[in-house]
């Protein structure tokens, strides 16, 4: 079957290469747009809309582009696409910042800046990214070629591209870029772009790939200095994975982990978060077997590693774990501890398939700001957690959004948790709240007992809420399920 799909004519060759190339481009554009927009799903939305809208445009104008114009546009498009990959992040900042400032002056939401920038990026992606690919198929069939045959050749190209993406991405991001450029140049050659022009474009593309890493880091440093106001002295670790662009940004005072350009965890000198989410419940239980869902700096492991018998760390992205292990060693101490294991899996799948029970399950996954992450904040997910808790065990999860006020995030989260866990208590400190829930075997201590269990230096500003108090506080709030994660994300 596959030999029958081998391109037989130059036109079919162009279709096949367009199929391969478009698949590689999709992956690259979504990755870079996710970093620029700092929100993977919004990037997918913007890119998908740009992609499919421009396909319509390409179909509509497919018979109006002369072959000479097509040959002239192709090398230009490669240059535009490669520049856009590097420019998306600073462009987003340069476009969003002035609009956000204008919005602030007029008492409008700052989000307008991001919306304006997103719209401009969408147009740029539309024009530069995919418009030319759509012209090949209608042109060829209009010239008398069979639809089945032509479309099959293009889809076979897409299948090859799909197989190439994980293979090249596993080698390096530059390998993916090189594969993309090579296929693009072959496509240009197949539509009749001159040898010299293709050769010159190939040299420029090679220089781009050779300098990509340095340019990417320099641009990221520039962006983080301006976006977050940090002094970034170096980016000692940068990696593109199918899930994220992972970066460690080092400054004179501290290092930070960034996923898709968004700060995830800073090194926290006081370790307050790690204490309340991990050490406090672990001390209450004595010597619990622990599961840690999600890994940031893993300072939670560093705090409890000496007195708990075992810690199972679960994270979807193995490279996030490796980067944190290396660059936040002073906090997680994984190299000196021997009682931990790492499982590369998503938390849902791990909990559903694990035969183990845990005395303490820690939810250390970033806040629910994207759909994929928000699936770990749903009623369905918490039921999976409850099923893996041993009798008397505790599930510990935090919300760094204020419990009172206009935002519903914390209250909806607590309402959902309260629906699943029959026994629980909640600690509130400043604007953060920490939920400790369990099954029928969990005893709910009194507020005074709980306060006495908090380390003396950590008691300041701490207040405990009973189940009855929380139920009154969250009455009427929406329960978050896989049906309505948007109610948590876009609160």
């Amino acid at each position: 079957m596959f030999s029958a799909l081998r391109p037989a004519t130059r036109g079919e060759g162009s279709l096949f290469l367009a199929g391969v190339n478009l698949m590689l481009l999709n992956f690259l554009m979504v990755q870079h747009a996710a970093v620029a927009i700092r929100q993977a799903e919004v990037a997918v939305i913007i890119f998908s809309l740009a992609y499919f809208l421009v396909l319509s445009l390409g179909y509509a104008v497919s018979d109006r582009l002369s072959p000479a114009l097509l040959r002239a546009l192709l090398p230009l498009f490669l240059g535009a696409q490669l520049l856009l990959l590097l420019a998306l992040q600073p462009l987003q900042y340069l476009l969003a910042a002035p609009v956000a400032r204008w919005a602030a002056r007029h008492a409008l939401p700052a989000l307008l800046g991001d919306i304006a920038a997103g719209a401009v990026l969408c147009v740029l992606l539309t024009v530069c990214a995919t418009s030319l690919y759509a012209v090949f198929l209608p042109r060829l069939t209009a010239a008398g070629a069979g639809l089945r045959r032509c479309y099959s050749v293009e889809v076979a190209g897409s299948l090859l591209g799909l197989l190439l993406v994980p293979v090249l991405a596993a080698v390096s991001h530059e390998a993916l870029l090189a594969g993309y450029c090579a296929v693009f140049l072959a496509l240009a050659r197949s539509v009749g772009v001159g040898r010299w022009l293709v050769g010159a474009t190939a040299l420029a593309a090679a220089a781009y790939i050779a300098g990509f890493s340095a340019a990417d880091r320099a641009i990221a440093r520039w962006c983080y200095t301006r976006i977050y106001g940090w002094e970034v002295t170096a980016l000692p670790f940068v990696s593109y994975t199918p899930y994220h662009k992972i970066e460690i940004a080092s400054g004179p005072a501290q290092s930070r982990l960034l996923l898709n350009g968004r700060r995830q965890f800073a090194t926290d000198p006081s370790r307050a978060y790690a204490y309340y989410v991990a050490e406090f419940p672990a001390r209450l239980l004595g010597a619990p077997h622990v599961a840690l869902l999600g890994c940031g700096s893993m300072s939670t492991v560093g705090l409890i590693g000496d007195f708990v018998p075992s810690i199972r760390i679960v994270d979807l992205d193995e490279q996030v774990f490796s980067a944190s292990r290396t660059h936040f060693q002073a906090f997680n101490r994984l190299d000196s501890l021997r009682n931990w294991t790492f499982t590369p899996n998503d938390a849902k799948n791990f909990l559903a398939n694990s035969a183990e029970s845990f005395d303490l399950i820690l939810h250390d996954i970033p806040p629910a700001r994207s759909r994929q992450v928000a699936l770990t904040y749903t009623e369905e997910f918490f039921r999976l957690v409850l099923a893996r808790l041993s009798p008397g065990g505790i599930f510990s999860i935090s919300s760094l959004t204020p419990l009172a006020g206009d935002l519903h995030y914390s209250r909806r989260l607590l309402a959902t948790l309260g629906r699943v866990f029959p026994h629980y208590f909640v600690l509130v400190r400043h604007d953060s709240c920490y939920f400790y829930g369990g099954g029928a075997g969990l005893r709910e201590p009194t507020g005074a007992e709980l306060l006495a269990a908090v380390a003396p230096g950590r008691r300041h500003g701490v207040k405990f809420y009973s189940r009855a108090q929380i139920e009154a506080l969250v009455a009427g709030e929406k329960i978050v399920t896989i049906s309505n994660v948007g109610d948590l994300i876009y609160d």
Partner: protein, 176 residues
């Protein structure tokens, strides 16, 4: 159901509507499958790549189905395959061995997409108009899916496959 008709009747509103509605349905079906895998199997990237591989493989097979009634038959088969996948994952959630049978169901949906173009091509003066209408429907389906994913997840998982089949099936019947 229907047979391909000569190009003389091309450009009819009903043909354009069928292309648009099919595109809309395909987008909803594809997004429902992706969400089904993410919510009830695994969020790992491999599952996305495998699902896309099955979709494209099915598309390739559907394009090359010679039977004139292949598309109408797939209008019935694709939602049945989808609900089989949904039922399988509801009964055995998070079991990775289900990826292969669910992949086969995804391939049926891909075949539906692939079979549509040869089926509909003869009704349009040029392929570009057919692609344009189908793709515009796909864009709208994508927008609706993205809203469904965050605000009506269960609705997206349960309703669009059957509603799409009813709409497309109804349009096919109305053209007899």
């Amino acid at each position: 159901m229907t047979e391909p008709v000569p190009a003389r009747s091309a450009g009819r509103f009903a043909d354009s509507l069928l292309a648009f509605t099919t595109g809309l349905w395909l987008a909803l079906l594809q997004c429902a499958y992706f969400f089904l895998l993410e919510a009830y199997l695994t969020s790992r990237a491999t599952s996305f790549f495998i699902a896309l591989f099955f979709w494209l493989g099915g598309f390739l097979a559907g394009l090359n189905l010679a039977a004139p009634r292949a598309f109408p038959a797939l209008v019935v088969a694709a939602p049945l395959a989808y609900y089989a996948a949904l039922g399988g994952l509801a009964v055995f959630p998070y079991h990775l061995w289900l990826l292969a049978p669910v992949g086969a169901c995804i391939a049926v949906a891909g075949a539906l997409a692939g079979a549509f173009f040869p089926f509909a091509a003869s009704r349009f003066p040029g392929l570009k108009i057919l692609l344009l209408h189908e793709n515009n429907g796909f864009v709208l389906g994508l927008l609706l899916s993205l809203l469904g994913l965050v605000f009506h997840g269960r609705l997206l998982l349960t309703l669009p496959p059957v509603l799409g089949a009813l709409a497309v099936g109804g349009l096919l019947l109305s053209r007899r």
